[in-house]
């Protein structure tokens, strides 16, 4: 079983819809949670970064972390065709010895059609 599970989709929604993307994880040591957006043949672009539980909002994007359920979400409001991309969740544990690495989900492919 992978440490981070993410439904690969694809997810197809009409323009203006609210999109919900989710990841579950098994390692309770994870403390840092990130969402990356990756366009085809491009490097992942950091969208949201959250430490521990709670919500974080940035424009049309809201990230939620529920550590008790080991579940994180990314909501996109008023989705646009330009939001069409693969969304990767990533997380890491509090560094012991000062170093850590990101563990990625499989990525969810989102298509927003006009």
């Amino acid at each position: 079983q992978k440490e981070v599970e993410q439904d690969p989709g694809p997810l197809s929604v009409p323009e203006g819809a609210i999109v919900s993307l989710n990841c579950t994880y098994s390692n309770s040591a994870f403390q840092y949670f990130m969402w990356y957006r990756q366009y085809s043949r491009k490097g992942p672009e950091l969208l949201m970064y959250t430490y521990s539980s709670g919500n974080k909002e940035d424009g049309r994007f809201t990230a939620q972390v529920d550590k008790s359920s080991k579940y994180i979400s990314l909501f996109i409001r008023d989705s646009q065709p330009s939001d069409s991309a693969t969304y990767l969740c990533a997380m890491s544990s509090f560094p012991s010895g000062g170093y850590n690495k990101l563990i990625f989900g499989a990525g969810t492919r989102l298509a927003v059609h006009p």
């Binding site: 491009k42 490097g43 990767l88 000062g98």
Partner: protein
């Protein structure tokens, strides 16, 4: 703003050849990570460096080696290339602050390696 620079962007090699990928982190970033992303797969962690020392190791084959230089750029050396090594190779950088590493990692555009 300066981003993570990777070179080359594309590379075609034959089986059993050697390839060297380069990564130039964001200025003042002292931590570099290398990831491999196969077609339709999520990025897999290979190796990382902090202050020129290897800090963590993931699923990196013994045929691969990497290092971080005094100017913090990093090189990934791949020998005896196999068809299965064809993938996108991403470098990411972050700013470490001693024991409490800032985990906001920023990625480069990647190097697409094709082994034929």
């Amino acid at each position: 703003a300066a981003g993570v620079i990777q070179s080359p962007r594309h590379l075609i090699k034959e089986k059993r050849e050697t390839a060297t990928l380069k990564c130039y982190p964001i200025p003042r970033h002292d931590t570099v990570y290398w990831y491999q992303q196969g077609p339709g797969q999520d990025p897999q962690f290979l190796i990382s460096f902090y202050e020129k020392m290897q800090s963590d190791k993931g699923s990196i084959p013994d045929r691969f080696s990497a290092q971080q230089f005094s100017d913090y750029h990093s090189e990934l050396n791949m020998s005896s290339l196999e068809l299965g090594d064809s993938a996108l190779y991403f470098c990411a950088s972050s700013e470490g602050t001693g024991e409490y590493l800032n985990t906001e990692a920023f990625f480069g555009q990647g190097t697409r390696l094709t082994v034929v």
